[in-house]
């Protein structure tokens, strides 16, 4: 515009024209590159006689997946195999997130302890985990489980009916039926109801200043729906307890060494990062907040819960989101120790069908989709705890 005013008609010096030109060049360049790559690919695929398209998803897979949560057998389709892989990925990531958060919270608080020994131990824990690659830990845990633990016949009973041996962890289990799902649903319903009642009571207390006893109502909301469901469906609650037999452990359910090593590796290494996040979050709350809370007569625990943690959460949530995301993405290292996650199943599929492009496209899209889902959820939660500025 400025140049126009000087009377120059040279298009090249027109800012708006230049902006459009740059963008057209960028988009055009990318489109051309894409076309070039596409022509290369189609030529190569034709030369090497590789089929294209996603038709293979409905063909019979024919390979065994060592452990699945959903029903899967080799006669099922590739599509089903990949779904089993996705479920495995989500399963191990979800458990790791829970474990990592709990451990990280405690270690983070321990790092701030006034007891120098405890703080030092927490420091050692964090540094030992942060400075060594996750892949090395996965190999190490796996090697320790497989080679150093006793055989099934001499399995250690670490808790009553929980056995640890070189074929993994054996825990008591329950035969899950639809009746159990009903009770779980009733329990969740009761929980939601309880939260609702509690919220209303709090809102009332804030507006009217009157405090009423709500716990009997909340307890009723929590107990009555599951009790009713229990009466109606009457499920079978026999728990299968693992017992040491002559050659193997009978009953219970088995967590394979691969799953145990992956769970341990993912959750421990993520917990070190989370500990640092928790620590910096708590440190970010000013000293004056502690002092003010004490001046109001709040005890330590209450100060932490009502004053410090809500403010620390604002600092904690964004980096926590990215550490959950990287845990989820790191679960793809499962392939190194042979846990059949999405990447490993896709890899087998690619080797069998030769359709690498489709295989990689599927697992990249799944990771991308789930990553976006996790960040959307965490952003929603973050906007709830974020500072409400007036």
């Amino acid at each position: 515009m400025r140049v126009d005013a000087l009377g120059g008609t040279r298009l090249l010096y027109n800012l708006r024209f230049r902006a459009i030109l740059y963008q057209v060049l960028a988009v055009g360049g990318i489109v051309l590159l894409g076309l070039y790559l596409f022509s290369n690919v189609s030529q190569k695929l034709a030369e090497q006689n590789i089929a294209t398209g996603f038709g293979y998803l409905s063909r019979e897979a024919g390979f065994v997946i060592s452990q699945t949560l959903i029903d899967y057998k080799p006669t099922d389709t590739y599509g089903r195999a990949i779904l089993a892989g996705i479920v495995n990925t989500v399963w191990v990531s979800a458990w790791s997130v829970v474990l990592a958060t709990i451990i990280g919270l405690f270690v983070g608080i321990a790092r701030l302890s006034r007891n120098p020994l405890l703080a030092f131990l927490a420091f050692l824990y964090v540094e030992a985990l942060r400075n060594v690659p996750l892949l090395l830990y996965l190999f190490l845990w796996y090697a320790l489980i497989v080679t150093s633990l006793p055989t099934v016949r001499e399995a250690w009973e670490i808790l009553p009916h929980v056995f640890l041996s070189n074929s993994g962890l054996t825990v008591p289990s329950l035969m899950w039926t639809s009746a159990h799902s009903m009770i779980l649903a009733a329990l969740i319903l009761g929980g939601v109801l309880g939260v609702f009642i509690h919220r209303r009571a709090t809102a009332q207390r804030i507006t009217s200043g009157k405090s009423r006893r709500t716990w009997p109502l909340v307890a009723m909301a929590l107990l009555i729906p599951p009790a009713l469901a229990l009466l109606i469906v009457q499920p079978d609650f026999t728990i299968s307890l693992p017992e040491k037999g002559r050659f193997r452990l009978a009953g219970g359910s088995q967590l394979t060494p691969e799953f145990t090593a992956l769970l341990l590796g993912l959750s421990l290494s993520a917990s070190a990062g989370i500990a640092e996040i928790v620590r910096s979050g708590i440190l970010s709350v000013r000293k004056g907040q502690w002092e003010a809370a004490r001046a109001l007569g709040l005890k330590d625990g209450l100060t932490m819960r009502l004053v410090v943690l809500p403010q620390a959460l604002r600092v904690i949530i964004p980096p926590l989101t990215s550490s959950y995301l990287s845990l989820f993405k790191n679960s793809s290292l499962a392939i190194a120790i042979g846990y059949p996650d999405l990447v490993m199943v896709s890899n087998t599929t690619m080797n069998q069908t030769g359709q690498a492009i489709e295989g990689i496209a599927i697992f990249m899209l799944v990771y991308l989709g789930l990553s976006i889902a996790i960040s959307l959820f965490m952003n929603w939660y973050n906007s709830r705890v974020a500072l409400k500025e007036r």
Binding site: A19, Y22, Q23, A26, V27, L37, N40, V41, Q43, L45, I109, A110, L112, S113, R114, N115, P116, L117, L118, F120, L121, E127, A128, R130, N131, V132, P133, L135, L136, F139, L140, A143, L144, T147, S148, I282, L283, V285, W290, E291, D300, G301, T303, M304, V308, K329, N330, S332, L333, I335, A336, V343, A356, I357, I360, M364, Y367, L368, S371, I372
Partner: protein, 370 residues
């Protein structure tokens, strides 16, 4: 409870005047946090117990129970660390399948490389001469490792392995990822919508998928995308994947720095008559990059560790040569932990060193010495 309250409390209770009774103060300062309350005393005891067990286990494994003489058979019987394994395999673990008689070349290259990193880490040397230093370093290490001139025998990339390969992959990944990342960060904060959207899609897609999927893509898909007759070296393919991955993460760190620069700086640059590239190069980027240095160092630490993933696509990086040494027919099933302990130690030393450096930089910045 031992929480941050205690810290606040300790700060409150700091004596304002110097306490004349030194002995009592020492008692107060050092012993009270340890055994001040019954809970604290129990915590102290438990911590001591854990530390004792750890120290005893590590010492016993490495020293008292260790097998220092004899071969694999002696280690099979013993219950401690197997020093003969280290003796027999240390060169393989570090240098991998690089020709045995040429190991000195890689060693020299590594010393030059680490020396250059050491010089780069000193803020006093942060000026243009660093570019010259790195130019010389890259040429020298490339000649030493690859050979083919000056009477050095040529060593193909298939024999590049071990710790030098890990250094190489992460250093080149960061060196090339950095300019690409800066360009991406500028594109992402550009006013031109098409360019911004392209940058956002690129960065978010790369950051949304695991590194291993990009490595797979590079090793399986890239050959399909090349025109017929052109093959790309396996090592180069992995390197490209690492560069792309690094660029996306570096872009985000740099963008953080760019966002911290107040608008006034851009406006002042425009008022001086500088055009976009001039104002970026002379005014905005020097300030933004300085802010981005601590996160960039953290990214570097992460990348040094992430290069271990190339094991999965079959390259012989450090972790991979260590595993190969452990599965040697003479040692398989005997040296189960030794190799991992050694590898973990090496990673710990380098990563912790870098981390300490990053903390030093952050402290320096907070003090405002720029």
């Amino acid at each position: 409870m031992t929480t941050a309250t205690d810290i606040a409390e300790a700060q409150l209770k700091m004596p304002l005047r110097r306490d004349p009774d030194v002995g009592r103060r020492l008692m107060h300062r050092t012993l009270k946090p340890l055994i001040g309350t019954p809970v604290n005393a129990v915590i102290t005891l438990v911590c001591l117990w854990i530390l004792w067990l750890g120290a005893k286990g590590a010492y016993g494994w490495h020293v008292t129970r260790a097998v220092t003489e004899g071969g694999a058979q002696a280690c099979k019987v013993g219950h401690g660390a197997c020093w003969p394994f280290y003796e027999a395999k240390i060169r393989f673990m570090i240098f991998g399948v690089y020709p045995y008689d040429e190991h000195w070349r890689v060693l020299l290259a590594m010393i030059i490389f680490l020396g250059a990193i050491g010089i780069t880490m000193i803020p006093r040397f942060w000026n243009r001469s660093l570019l010259v230093l790195w130019g010389v370093t890259i040429v020298a290490t490339a000649i030493l490792i690859s050979g083919g001139i000056f009477g050095l025998t040529y060593v193909p990339t298939t024999q590049w392995s071990g710790l030098p390969l890990s250094f190489l992959l992460s250093a080149i990944g960061l060196a090339f990822g950095f300019p690409l990342g800066v360009v991406l960060a500028l594109a992402r904060s550009s006013k031109l919508p098409a360019i911004r959207v392209i940058a956002i899609i690129f960065i978010e897609v790369i950051r949304g998928v695991p590194l291993i999927s990009i490595l797979f893509m590079a090793s399986v898909m890239l050959p399909l995308f090349m025109p017929s007759g052109i093959t790309v070296d396996k090592l180069l393919r992995a390197q490209i994947a690492i560069i792309i991955f690094a660029a996306a993460y570096i872009a985000e760190a740099v963008r953080g720095g760019l966002q911290a620069i107040p608008r006034g700086q851009h406006e002042a640059a425009s008022a001086m008559g500088l055009h976009y590239w001039q104002s970026m190069r002379l005014i905005v980027l020097p300030q933004a990059l300085k802010i981005a240095i601590p996160p960039l160092v953290n990214i570097s630490i992460g990348f040094f560790q992430d290069t271990t993933l190339v094991t999965i696509i079959g390259l012989l990086d450090f972790l991979s040569t260590v595993r190969t040494a452990m599965t040697d027919p003479n040692w398989v099933g005997i040296a189960v932990l030794e190799g991992y302990v050694f590898a973990a130690f090496v990673f710990l030393v380098f990563s912790y060193g870098m981390g300490a450096y990053s903390r030093f930089l952050e402290r320096r910045m907070r003090l405002g010495h720029d």
